[in-house]
């Protein structure tokens, strides 16, 4: 019997991404953020998630896409890691999909750039490909990333 897994999906720059449902704490509409001066650029700010302070990570910057267009407000996919919760800012939330493990494939060798590090692979869905985000990688960033205009 092939194993199936559930993914919470979202869109970034019209690409479909997925994170394993187990690691997702919740999905929220746009929440107001407090900017953190001097912080790495990928940190968009801090969010008050019912009394819990959560760092919001700008996935666009994290994946080194161009800067997000300001026309829509980002939504939050709050994931848990060993350090607490981190919110991934995404364009739009998709469905929860159940995929068969057999549809998984490693990223092609021709894929370059930051995104290669950030995804573990893709699942071949019927309509499109779902990029499986490595949440630990996506969250760990910042530590090594350059602060905004460092001295």
């Amino acid at each position: 019997m092939a194993q199936t897994r559930q993914f919470c999906t979202f869109y970034l720059d019209k690409l479909l991404f997925g994170v394993e449902l187990q690691g997702v704490q919740e999905v929220m509409r746009y929440l107001e953020m407090t900017k953190v001066p001097l912080a790495p650029a990928v940190v968009s700010g801090l969010i008050n998630l019912r009394g819990q302070i959560v760092t919001a990570v700008d996935l666009w910057r994290r994946l080194q896409f161009e800067d997000r267009l300001a026309d829509t407000l980002p939504m939050n996919v709050v994931v848990r890691n060993e350090d607490g919760a981190v919110s991934l800012l995404v364009d739009e939330i998709g469905d929860v999909v159940e995929v068969d493990e057999s549809s998984f494939e490693r990223p092609p060798e021709t894929l370059h750039g930051k995104i290669r590090e950030m995804i573990t692979g893709v699942h071949k869905l019927e309509s499109c490909l779902m990029h499986v985000l490595d949440t630990a990688k996506a969250c760990e960033m910042a530590v090594d990333a350059e602060p905004v205009g460092s001295d």
Binding site: E32, M33, T34, K35, V36, P37, L38, A39, P40, V42, V43, G45, L46, I47, N48, G51, Q52, I53, V54, T55, V57, D83, G84, V86, C139, M141, A142, V143, P147, V148, G149
Partner: protein, 760 residues
């Protein structure tokens, strides 16, 4: 809850209380002045009275009321309990019990007014009525039962009371005193409960949330005019504050808990070092949050050991210096300005400013020029840099230069600071300042660039506002750096907007009207003025740590959720001051970090003598293990028995040729005339070292250089006589085991050689 439910609860509760009351009254009779018991009896009756009034049982209330009045007098010591009063009170208890059972069955407190009982109880309240009392008192006990039959219907129901009374009395008489004693011991045991820390932590978190919610509520109530709502939120505010204090208290522990192990530590260290040290403690009961207590335990232990090891001199030295043989180590803890100060002082030799200065230059922590400029205090604080130890000897207690920096880092991690003061010959005092608690702190909220920031109140000393017309005159420039004269002293100014690269929005600019708000802050004993756009208010904030993504941003100590639900960052005043170079630590830190890196690589830099051994092998020994380097003509070498020697400074110097000593197979040719293999005409190179008090010369081929290096990368020796191989000046070099060689060569037989610390 319906009214009948309340009544039911009341009945259950009262029944329990009445049972206890019986026992207590009897116990009281034996010990009429027991205040606690009287108070307990009083409370029970008082509660019953209060509840009856509320539920509308007027007759019961009346009885309880007179009883209470009588008990008040007893409790206050205006009357002394005598058997008569006890009896009356017991009757009252019976009456109450009767009425309660009435209530239970009919829902009403019956028709019996208990007038006579009331009268008796009232009469007993006048102490003067003693004489007359006798007669009525005799009748009083009977009366409760006597009058009861008179009011017709409830009579049968009132009849039962005597048995329970008898019962209770019999019961209590047999075991009255023991029972009360037991009760009390149980009470005492109930005064403390072991509670898991996780439960307290959870409570703390919840209280944190509550405080947040309270702040939000208060913010909201500001815009409301509903008097009721305002009153409720006000009450809510008070309760939350009290609850917060209460829960915080549960986590408080006296610092004595940590200190209690110090006498032992001090004794151990002192004995190991042959010192005599007395330890004194003041302010043991000073309380601190549990997490803080844990965090400062190690740093304090280190400081204490350090004081005994480096601070306090050996007894002889002390006597010579005219001090008491016994060194004195004093620990003091006290509260000051919302912080706890802990002082560790010794009356030892004090810190040697010059030596630290020299060492600092040696270690390249500061340049010679900088060192000359630094004041004593700054010099003292250099000892907190990594890899810095002024101990001349490395002991197993301390002196490895790791420690003081760890102390500082650990204390700073919990928002504290360390400072050292010392007077040569008189002793050293290390002062550790730490916050009382970490979880909820009072803070000043300011706005800059449209964002709010919280500044912990502990760092705050005062606020200054300059109106627009003063600004120009008041803020002066010292070569471009803005300063403000605060009571005659220059206060460096730091603009928060500039430091955090914020943009002042035009709206606040307009509101400010050119005025300048200065928040005077203290960082590491240094004052500076932080210029912010708006000063909002002070608020109790709940500190939430920043996640690791933001750990590198040193200007923030954490974040908090404000009354309006938005997140505000908490400024780390120390970090901010460093960023703005108010305190020079950034530079010191960088140097220190480099030093630490180096220290990590090896311990510390040492000076080595590089020389060529047999077969031109590159070898080295630490320079400090040698006494001298000598060059002598080979003709000076003589033979004494089987030992090659040379005359040296009026002594006979035993000589060992390294070429023979190192290679076991190439045993020293004892018969040969020539000691050295090379040309006899060449002078020989001798490394003179002290071996068991006598100089011994080690003959090497050629001396290469004297170098400083860490000698880090090590691997095991490939032959005897060599300690290990290391990389010195980027070349693999063998470190010579001089004592080993001398021993193998049979120079001096006994064991203790040069200190083995050469190795590490």
């Amino acid at each position: 809850m319906s009214e009948s439910d309340i009544v039911k609860d009341f009945l259950v509760e009262s029944a329990e209380n009445l049972d206890r009351l019986d026992q207590e009254l009897v116990g009281l009779e034996k010990n009429p002045t027991d205040r606690d018991m009287l108070a307990s009896v009083f409370r029970t009756i008082h509660t019953i009275k209060g509840t009856c009034g509320f539920l509308g049982f007027n007759k019961l209330e009346k009885v309880a009321h007179v009883g209470e009045s009588l008990l008040t007098l007893l409790r206050d010591g205006k009357l002394t309990l005598n058997p008569e009063i006890t009896t009356a009170l017991l009757h009252m208890v019976d009456a109450v019990r009767q009425m309660l059972s009435e209530i239970q069955s009919t829902g009403q407190d019956g028709n019996n007014e208990y007038l006579e009982l009331i009268e008796t109880l009232t009469r007993l309240q006048t102490p003067g009525a003693k004489g007359k009392k006798q007669a009525p008192a005799a009748s009083a006990p009977i009366q409760p039962t006597q009058p009861s039959p008179q009011p017709a219907p409830p009579a049968p129901e009132i009849a039962p009371p005597p048995p329970p009374k008898m019962d209770s009395q019999a019961h209590t008489e047999s075991s009255g005193q023991p029972v009360s004693a037991e009760t009390r011991s149980r009470d005492a045991a109930a005064e403390t409960i072991r509670v898991g820390v996780n439960v307290l932590d959870k409570l703390m978190t919840l209280v944190g949330e509550l405080v947040l919610a309270r702040n939000q509520l208060l913010q909201f109530s500001n815009s409301s005019e509903d008097a009721n709502f305002l009153a409720i939120s006000q009450r809510m505010n008070l309760i939350a504050t009290e609850l917060q204090e209460g829960v915080m208290k549960t986590r408080m522990q006296p610092i004595g808990n940590v200190w209690s192990q110090f006498p032992r530590t001090v004794r151990d260290v002192a004995v190991a070092l042959g010192k005599e040290v007395e330890i004194e403690m003041e302010g043991k009961e000073t309380e601190l949050d549990k997490t803080i207590i844990e965090a400062i335990k190690d740093p304090l232990t280190h400081l204490v050991r350090n004081s005994v090891d480096h601070g306090i001199e050996p007894p002889e030295a002390r006597v010579k210096a005219g001090k008491d043989r016994k060194g004195r180590l004093t620990l003091r803890a006290f509260h000051e300005g919302g912080q706890v100060n802990i002082e560790i002082s010794d009356d030892g030799s004090g810190l040697d400013v010059e030596r630290i200065r020299k060492k600092a230059v040696e270690r390249a922590v500061v340049t010679a020029e900088q060192a000359a400029r630094l004041g004593d205090r700054e010099i003292f604080n250099l000892i907190f840099l990594p890899g810095f130890s002024t101990a001349e000897k490395v002991t197993n207690v301390s002196g490895r230069g790791v420690g003081m920096d760890v102390v500082k880092t650990n204390v700073e991690k919990i928002g504290g600071s360390v400072d050292v003061q010392s007077k040569k010959g008189q002793g050293t005092t290390v002062r550790v300042k730490i916050p009382l608690t970490l979880a909820i702190i009072p803070a000043l909220v300011v706005t800059s660039g449209g964002d709010r920031f919280a500044i912990p109140q502990v760092n705050l000393t005062e606020l200054v506002r300059l109106e627009s017309d003063e600004v120009e005159k008041a803020i002066e420039l010292v070569h471009g750096s803005p300063v403000y004269r605060l009571r005659g002293r220059l206060l460096p100014l730091v603009y928060l907007n500039k430091e955090l690269r914020l943009e002042t929005d035009d709206k606040t600019k307009a509101e400010q009207d050119g005025a300048v708000n200065i928040v005077v802050l203290q960082a590491d004993e240094r004052l500076f003025g932080l210029v912010v756009d708006v000063i909002n208010d002070t608020e109790e904030i709940v500190v939430k740590p920043l996640r690791k993504q933001l750990k590198n941003v040193r200007t923030f100590a954490g974040a908090s959720i404000m009354g309006d639900g938005k997140v505000a960052l908490i400024l780390d005043v120390m970090g901010l001051a460093q960023r703005a170079s108010v305190i020079t630590e950034v530079r010191d830190r960088n140097l220190a970090e480099k030093a630490a890196e180096a220290a990590e690589r090896s311990g510390e830099k040492r000076t080595f003598l590089l020389f060529a051994g047999p077969d031109d092998a590159r070898m080295a020994v630490p320079l400090d293990t040698l006494a001298r380097l000598e060059e002598m003509p080979s003709s000076q070498v003589e033979k004494a028995g089987t030992q090659w020697v040379a005359q040296y400074r009026g002594k006979i110097l035993a000589l060992v040729n390294l070429a023979f000593a190192l290679d076991e197979r190439r045993t020293e040719p004892r018969n040969t005339k020539s000691f050295v293999s090379s040309n006899d005409a060449d002078p020989i190179q001798v490394l003179v070292c002290n071996h068991e008090g006598n100089p011994v010369g080690l003959v090497v081929e050629r001396i290469i250089d004297i170098v400083e290096d860490y000698a880090t990368v090590k691997y095991p020796a490939s032959r005897p006589g060599v300690l290990y191989s290391a990389v010195i000046q980027e070349r693999v070099t063998e470190l010579l085991d001089i004592p080993g060689i001398l021993k193998a060569a049979g120079v001096g037989k006994a064991g203790e050689l040069l200190p083995a610390e050469v190795v590490h």
